[in-house]
């Protein structure tokens, strides 16, 4: 297993997949801040004062982390950021499922409902982030980093 995870080509592929997903998710949310604000509101977890702050900043964190990850800049740091976001998303989706909220997850625009499928997808991506944090991805790096 470790041999697979430490394979640089495998790491490169999963890194690009995660990067693309987050670049798309971030860009989509940036294009519709009002819709994303509504999506956060629908979860009924955060106080109303904080919702728009999150709706303004979170998509950019996704987009920039995704771009940096794609180009192999600070892979471990960006994998940590995206991993943390995924963990938060999993908790939010799980909470709304427990509370019986039948809402749009706000993940990639409209039409994605909260549910087990979303938890599964996010968990898979979280595992990828943990692998990237543990093994790094040194192939096609734009920044020449010798020490960690």
């Amino acid at each position: 297993m470790k041999k697979v995870f430490s394979n640089q080509y495998f790491l490169l592929i999963i890194r690009i997949i995660i990067a693309m997903v987050f670049i798309y998710a971030g860009a989509e949310k940036i294009s519709d801040p009002k819709g994303f604000s509504q999506s956060i509101y629908n979860y009924r977890i955060l106080p109303i004062e904080t919702i728009n702050i999150l709706a303004i900043t979170l998509p950019w964190l996704e987009l920039i982390s995704g771009i940096l990850l794609l180009f192999g800049i600070s892979v471990k740091e960006n994998a940590a950021i995206i991993g943390t976001l995924l963990l938060v998303f999993i908790i939010a989706v799980a909470l709304s499922m427990i509370r019986g909220l039948d809402i749009d997850c706000g993940c990639f625009g409209k039409g994605n409902m909260v549910g087990w499928r979303k938890i599964g997808e996010n968990s898979l991506m979280l595992i990828i982030c943990v692998v990237l944090m543990a093994f790094d991805s040194r192939i096609i790096l734009l920044n020449d980093r010798k020490t960690d």
Partner: protein, 198 residues
Amino acid sequence: MIKKNLLAIIFSSLTIGFIYNAINPNGIPLIREQRTLEFVQEDTILVPSESLKSETSTVDSTNLVQSSITRPSDQSDNQNKNEQQEFVKPLAIKIGKAYQLYLQGAKFIDARMPEEFAEGHIKGAINIPFDGDESYRDILKTIGKDEIIVTYCNGTECDLSILLGDELFEKGYKRVYIFFGGWNDWLEKGYPISKGEQ
């Protein structure tokens, strides 16, 4: 992992986010506004002609003259007020007004999911799930912009009816009512319902 890089990425993302939002014409306010419902005043509900007759027959002749003079002007005042309000934002209504609009032939739109709609809905209502895909919105083409529209969802806790009502209003439907209380209140009163898909 380098903490400095981590913080730099987070900080720069937040900064870019705020700057972009400030210059973006579609930017949102830093604090989200709470959507408050504005209810139709109860006195704007027109008295059905039958009850008007029975009411007036009990009063003496002088009052009758007065009431016949004052009533129409009252009603038109209220109607004018109501119409002016309708151009500002969708108005919320409760079960009484909703049933009255139902009898007047207003279009009822169910904002819930198709499964819930199939289990039971207000008779004659059409289904436009707020979170559903865009294909449902083709149905909107059959509704004129001047028609009276009433959106509803499950009850007082859901806000699909509010979201759909606001969206329809933005799309140019000017006489949009949001039926606060929705399906639960309707069912409780025993008003006409039907089952199955549309």
